[in-house]
Symmetry: C2
Subunit: 194 residues, 2 copies
C-alpha cells in the first residue's frame, strides 16, 4: 500500500457505519468539499449520473421518514443531515459535453432505455461509494440506508420521474462508542484466478 | 478535509483511468492487500456480493477480448492484469452468517428475486468503487471498462449462471504521460436542498 496507515484507518479500517451522531451540524461547505474531492472518481463514458438531494429541514426529513423501515426512522430524524443519493435517468442528454470522444453515446442510450437504466444504477452506485469514502475523508461518518420504499421516496421527492433514488445516507460526527463490524468475506472466498 | 493532500491526490485528484501500463507485474499479494483494505467498506445487510475473477493467463485474456468493444481489446491483452468484477446473484444464502441481526434477510431475497438482482447490482457496484479506490491506494492505476457484451462474458466465464459481471478492469502501473480528465459536473449542478 502506498496510502499511509492513518489514511487507511480513516477511510476503511477505523471507519464505521453510524447510527447516532453528535449535535454538530454538517454545513453545506463540507458537503461541497466532499463532492469536489470525489467527483473526480471514474464513471463509464464520464456519465456522472449521481444527484444529491440534501434533506436539511425537519419537514423534509419527516417526509422521508414515513417511507423508511421502522428501525431507520428515529435515527434519520435525529441526524444532523440526511442526503438522498439518486441518479438522473436522463444522464445521457449531457454526454455530448461530458464525453465528446464518443459522439454516438447519447443516441445509444436513447435507443436502449434498459441499458440506460442499468448504466445509471451501476455508475450512480460507483459515485455513491466515492461519496461515502469522501464523507469519511472529511472526518465524518455515514449511515447509508436501503431497503426503504423507493417508489414512495421517488414519488415524494422526484415526482417528475427524472431522478431515481439509490440510497439515503445520514451524515454527521458519530457518537463515540463501541463499534462492531459484521464478518467480512476473505480474499480466498471471493477471488478466482484464470 | 481530514484526509491529507497527499492521500487526496493519490486517490482522486491526481489519479486517472489508465489505458497503457508499464511491464511491471501486479502480483496476487497486491490484489489481496487491496481487498483486505476495502472489504471493510459498507454494503446493505453486509451482503458483500462482489466476486473477483483475475484473468492472469494470456488464454483467459483472449477469451475476454472477443467480447470487448474493439477499442478495448488491445489494451486489455497488453495489461499486466485484468479483473472481472462480478456479483454473486445468490449472495443471500450467506446472509445468516453475514448479517445475523436480521434473520429474515435471506428469506426476503429468496421471495423477491427482482429486489435481489437490484441489490446485488447496487451493492456490487459500491464494492467495485471501493476496489478502484483501493487499487489507487496501492499506487496502481485502474482502467475500468463497461459497455461490453455482458451476456457473452457471463456465458464464457460464469456458465453456471450464479455470477454476473459488472465491470472489467485493467490493472497496472500506468505509463507516465499526459492525462486529460473529462469535465466534471459542479456541486451546484448536482445538489438540491430541501
Amino acid at each position: 500500500m502506498v496510502l499511509d496507515d492513518t489514511a487507511q484507518d480513516l477511510l476503511f479500517r477505523q471507519a464505521f457505519t453510524a447510527d447516532r451522531f453528535t449535535g454538530d451540524p454538517v454545513d453545506d461547505d463540507t458537503v461541497r468539499a466532499v463532492h469536489d474531492l470525489v467527483r473526480d472518481g471514474p464513471t463509464a463514458f464520464n456519465q456522472q449520473p449521481l444527484r444529491i438531494c440534501l434533506l436539511r429541514s425537519a419537514e423534509s426529513r419527516a417526509r422521508l421518514a414515513v417511507h423508511l423501515s421502522r428501525g431507520n426512522r428515529e435515527k434519520t430524524l435525529l441526524a444532523p443531515l440526511t442526503a438522498l443519493l439518486a441518479v438522473d435517468r436522463e444522464f445521457h442528454r449531457r454526454l455530448p459535453e461530458q464525453f465528446p470522444q464518443f459522439p454516438g453515446a447519447s443516441d445509444l442510450f436513447t435507443r436502449h432505455p434498459a441499458l440506460r437504466e442499468r448504466s445509471a444504477l451501476l455508475n450512480g452506485a460507483l459515485q455513491a461509494a466515492y461519496f461515502l469514502v469522501g464523507v469519511r475523508a472529511a472526518g465524518l461518518a455515514a449511515g447509508p440506508m436501503s431497503g426503504f420504499d423507493e417508489d414512495g421516496v421517488n414519488r415524494e421527492f422526484f415526482s417528475d420521474g427524472r431522478l431515481s433514488v439509490l440510497f439515503a445516507v445520514n451524515l454527521g460526527r458519530p457518537v463515540p462508542g463501541a463499534h462492531t463490524r459484521g464478518p467480512r468475506l476473505a480474499y480466498d472466498e471471493i477471488r478466482t484466478t484464470l
